[in-house]
Symmetry: C2
Subunit: 408 residues, 2 copies
């Protein structure tokens, strides 16, 4: 049952479609007569703390649609993680503004912030409904088949590697591309999304679900390069040794941590440079290049999966519908179903916050090849429908060789 004002906010790393979910909440909430106002908090829970609200009931539908199609958190984001003291201040602000329901769009950390908030609200007897709306390019939320934001980021990574593979074919050598994903390899695995032929890259994929060994890595690269005369490698930023120590920290002494205690992995080219330097030092391969895909993966304007865009809008709409029809906190989840035609479909549920908050889903074993350096057909079946229409496809010439006249 929706009553009072509703509040929507965005937390954690932006995605290409997180604004679709916000727009879904706003447009659907404005349809409910019992809703007395639609506020947006700027920069997540931090905006509540500081009473930084905007009045989204005064936003035109046409502008909302344009913002919905724009990547990244239009309301601003935060890495703040509320403790008890933080929560008390928040309730004070929510009460002053007569907010009844809080929709928080975010990933692991944001859902955990919401869980803490819900627990403290209950303890304090403060009447607040908390609804979590999933989003993360990491695709690592429990219960969910996948999370809004992932399909578009996956399309970016698949498109990047499909192009890089053509580039590498034109000017052969070894190429290492480092992809985001601290604990879950879903986004790195999407590097395979544009492969069409047996010799298409990436030829090697290193996921955080497997222990990384520099010795094996160098042997793998040498083997592929000997076979194809080139080698394209996709590496997760989160690769680690048997002790769980990130490989990037073997280079960098001064590691930066965020409020959640996470080591900074993105925003630096250190891991790609470390890996390419190691290849140059330990092999006789002359052309070795490395790129770190960085923030482009989650923010690039113009690379969106249409399936993702639609689902991101739907989770926002469904969040309002669940809040209107069910008197409980929860997290909206995406569950894959087969349609009557046998193809891809999703249905939405409201699951308990405890089942999602602060937990991390990683790739299942059946998605990872026994070699540990590739994905399986099961992963491709999982990924392909998410990329939507206009998925990346690179084509090659098929013309026959001309017989040599001079040389044999």
């Amino acid at each position: 049952m929706l009553q009072g004002k509703i509040l929507v906010a965005q937390g954690g790393g932006p995605t290409a479609v997180i604004n679709q979910s916000m727009v879904g909440v706003v447009l659907d909430a404005r349809r409910h007569e019992t809703v007395t106002g639609v506020y947006g908090a700027l920069h997540g829970v931090n905006g509540i703390l500081n009473e930084n609200f905007i009045d989204l009931s005064k936003e035109s539908e046409s502008n909302l649609e344009r913002v919905g199609a724009t990547p990244c958190s239009a309301l601003g984001s935060t890495r703040d993680k509320p403790d008890v003291e933080y929560c008390r201040k928040i309730f004070n602000v929510l009460q002053a503004h007569q907010i009844g329901t809080f929709f928080y769009i975010g990933g692991n950390d944001s859902s955990d912030a919401l869980r803490i908030l819900a627990v403290e609200a209950a303890k304090a007897n403060y009447p607040l409904r908390c609804i979590h709306i999933p989003k993360t390019i990491d695709n690592d939320l429990m219960v969910n088949d996948h999370t809004p934001g992932y399909p578009s980021a996956a399309k970016f990574v698949a498109s990047a590697f499909a192009g890089i593979d053509q580039d590498n074919r034109a000017l052969p050598g070894v190429y290492v591309g480092v992809v985001m994903g601290r604990h879950a390899g879903f986004l790195t695995a999407a590097a395979a999304g544009g492969r069409r032929h047996d010799d298409d890259g990436p030829h090697l994929i290193y996921l955080p679900e497997r222990v990384f060994s520099m010795t094996s890595f160098l042997a793998d690269v040498k083997r592929v390069n000997a076979r194809l005369g080139r080698c394209v490698v996709a590496v997760s930023e989160g690769i680690h040794d048997a002790n769980g120590t990130p490989i990037v920290t073997t280079l960098t002494k001064d590691v930066e941590k965020d409020a959640h205690g996470n080591i900074q992995l993105s925003g630096t080219g250190a891991l790609a440079d470390l890996l390419t330097a190691s290849i140059k030092k330990n092999t006789d391969i002359s052309r070795v290049r490395g790129d770190t895909f960085g923030y482009l993966q989650r923010s690039f304007l113009g690379c969106v999966s249409d399936v993702d865009q639609q689902e991101a809008r739907d989770v926002g709409i469904r969040a309002v519908q669940f809040a209107a029809s069910e008197d409980r906190d929860g997290s909206v989840t995406l569950n894959r179903v087969n349609t009557l035609a046998g193809d891809y479909g999703v249905e939405y549920r409201l699951d308990a916050l405890d089942d999602i908050a602060g937990k991390t889903k990683i790739m299942s074993d059946d998605m990872i090849d026994a070699s540990g350096t590739d994905i399986t057909p099961a992963f491709m079946s999982y990924l392909t429908p998410l990329l939507g229409t206009n998925a990346p496809a690179a084509y090659r010439l098929q013309a026959p060789n001309v017989p040599k006249v001079l040389a044999g």
Copy 2:
């Protein structure tokens, strides 16, 4: 006058539309009755040297169209720079295969290779027509208003920064994005292509046309960050000190050089990491991130300017038409003209190889702001029509702030 077989090849760094030019040559050459065959050399002049040809008369038009829409050099590329000995071997091969006209699609270095080839062919009395077809994401070919490949790479860079700016607005801090371009800043300047509002990033743009000073850079970043609470910076990989020494070499001792003597600037995150480390060390700004856009700029699948795509096809077609109607070597150039309606148009000419080969065009002074850290409206007028339809556009919420109830 076209006679015998024609040969097409691709040299230098791939682009998103270089295959359009190749397809333009192939399809138009196949229409000429005097042409006895249409060959493609694999990996540029190196493919001629090694007699590696494919028979493009046996390629279906539908597959050629698919390949045309695929980024990167479908024929493969090379960095080889022929000398006299190399040329003699080439003539030997061309003679054995009865090649009359050679179309070489490439940039500075490829056009210079073609110039040398043409000079040596004349000296050796070898009847070879050499036609250069322009392509480079660097946009640094003399005579040309712009070069095929640049508009699509510019669209990628503009789209990336439009997204990055939204990301940085959501989670404020300093962001440094390093863009390709050794001597010419055109591609880095395109970072401004998606700006819509006064406070949109990039807020600072560092071009190789201006001397880079670390002291000024740090002062610039601090000033912008103090004003906006964030700062997005676009930096050319080719920035250098007053002596012309690339800034990246102040970090790296072991620099790699290619066959043309160029220091390796791409395929490493060193420059972005150097700049972000310097900001972290010399300011009290806590969140500093850096990305190197790398090979994605020239190969990304799915980010193409439709104007670029059309022009790249046209230069290939025009090359064959010039070869058929004029009995001279040359380079096809793009020249901007205003249409009768007053808007953007191009016309093509066949100019002398000597006017283009081995020379480098850089940004003119009227394109660069007096501050040295921004571009001018004149540059925007130059850039905007090249981005084509569906140019990047990011939208923001316009809703009013809610008056604070608790805080003043």
